[in-house]
Amino acid sequence: MNEPRTLLSIDRVSKSFGRVKAVEDISLDIRENEFFALLGPSGCGKTTLLRMLAGFEPPSDGRILLDGRDITRTPPNKRPVNLMFQSYALFPHMSVRANVSYGLEMERLPAKEIRSRVDAILTTTELVSFADRKPEQLSGGQRQRVALARALVKRPRLLLLDEPLGALDKKLRGAMQLELKRLQNEVGITFVIVTHDQEESLVMADRIAVLKDGRLLQCDAPRAVYEHPCDRFVADFIGVTNFLQGKATADGVLTSNGVKIAGKVPNMLSPGVATVAAVRPERIRLFPSPETANRVAGTVEALAYQGLDLQLHVRTPLSDKPFLVRVTADAVDRQPVSAGDQVELGWDAADVRIYAD
């Protein structure tokens, strides 16, 4: 692959609503043909950022460049960018078909082409039988699909999707994810997607940006973000993590009750500084081999059946909170554990991440 080209540059953009700072000094490059996910807690500024990219909200500060051209003040209809609204913003007076056709009509495409493209996207989004209904006659998920279809059918250079699949069931969501991927690959659309479904972002995105309180915390490939969160917040936000508080040592963390956790300490953390060690539940083995760097005994407090796996809550001397351990149902079938059992847990030093506390 060639060096990826930058499609959109967000250059030190900020946005305030009165005293509320919704977006603060964010710089980001979105690459051509990339699938880019925006993650962050509710209210962190994701929608606001997308609205600025689409051109509805002038940034209070900063610039937005598309293909190197400053489009900060370009009106929405002059940008090759489309936004699917979090609240859908369907035209209530138009049928599903009319809603979806609208954007293509604006491009003055031939009626035949409009018809065929609209038919195609209605088929993909399983809306064919609702084509003549008005939005108010649809279910929540159906409305969301109309909004999605309306944005997708335009095939813009850059498509901004604000929680596009949140109201869909897993099956349909899977199908829609495939469709988005197909559009990315076949049509060459660049996507920026807001999602609360972590699995979705981890599976689909080429890169993920994590926002908090209007600021950008980390921007990287999903696996990198998952495996190497830049700080405690990100580690906590993405996936599930066990945190162990203590003080930094040369080669790990000494917890408050004197247990040593082996792990790589970042350079900036000098020994003695308050730190926190993080371990993912799926990195923890039951009954580890004796060479395992970190080992601890505990009592199983609870088992939560999670469909695919079991999550064990194990009481250990390491912290007040139960340690979370994820094991496959299959593994448990072979070596049964139940509440009250004594177990030994273990994990490698390489699986420990250490952060300032």
């Binding site: 609205r51 509805f56 909200e57 002038p58 009106p75 209530p92």
Partner: protein
């Protein structure tokens, strides 16, 4: 949410300026004439307050003015209430026959004179004592329809789920109306009320027919229409000027009061 471009903003202000100029040019003439020395609206013949003085001495006009205000305020209040409820009722479940639709439009299109004569005949058949109360009742008939129309226009884009939410949270229909529906559609209700008041204070035929025999129920339009035989004297212009001035003062005060009481 999103802001408008400066070009658009300028265009909107231009529209407002032009429209208000159109609305107020004749009003400027009207006000000027109230200070005109001469009685005929032919030419300016010097500044004078004499029409205000003679207005002060004209009890017929003053009492008619007061009657008009009473009729206007009461009929507007009743019509706004009934019309709003009607609009909500009709729009909430739109499963009505043409009959109801016709019933709601009817007061607007029945020729005034028919309604006037019908009501008068009806009232005298029932031996109802005529007076301000009969004018009010009659004005409510058509005002109700006008208010209903305005409010319905607003309700076409209304999100009914908030009404359901209110009921769901335990509110009675009345509480829902008072605390949810009404505040949300208030701009339209206010618009309807302004419209009703405006119609009422200018209405002549129906008022004339449903008024009692006596000054106690003579309204300003009745008074003014009868004065037309001699051309309108600037006294009426003076009265109109005062009405408008008082309204502006009242609005200013209420705005200030609002701001002080409610804050913001």
């Amino acid at each position: 949410m999103a802001e408008r471009s400066p070009g658009t903003r300028r265009a909107l202000w231009l529209v407002l300026t032009l429209v208000f100029a159109f609305l107020y040019i004749p009003i400027a003439v009207l006000v000027a004439l109230s200070f005109n020395n001469a009685g005929l609206p032919t030419a300016w013949s010097g500044f004078s307050l004499k029409w205000y003085a003679s207005l002060a001495g004209n009890s017929a006009i003053l009492s008619a003015g007061l009657n008009t205000l009473i009729v206007g305020l009461i009929s507007t209040t009743i019509a706004t209430l009934l019309g709003t409820l009607l609009a909500i009722g009709v729009e909430m479940r739109r499963q009505f026959g043409k009959g109801l639709e016709a019933l709601i439009f009817a007061p607007m299109i029945i020729p005034d004179i028919v309604l006037a004569i019908a009501l008068l005949s009806f009232f005298s058949m029932l031996n109802v004592t005529m007076g301000l109360q009969t004018i009010i009742v009659a004005h409510v008939v058509f005002n109700l329809a006008f208010v209903c129309s305005v409010v319905r226009a607003r309700l076409k884009n209304f999100d009914w789920s908030i009404v359901e939410a209110s009921a769901d949270l335990g509110a009675s229909a009345i509480t829902t109306f008072r605390r949810v529906t009404l505040p949300v559609i208030l701009p339209a209700v206010v618009a309807g009320a302004l419209l009703a008041f405006t119609l009422s204070v200018d209405e002549f035929i129906i008022a004339f027919f449903t008024a009692g025999a006596g000054k106690a129920s003579t309204t300003l339009p009745i008074q003014i229409y009868s004065m037309i035989r001699f051309g309108i004297t600037p006294e009426i212009n003076a009265l109109a000027t005062i009405v408008m001035a008082v309204s502006v003062v009242a609005l200013t005060l209420s705005q200030r009061l609002n701001r002080e009481v409610i804050g913001q």
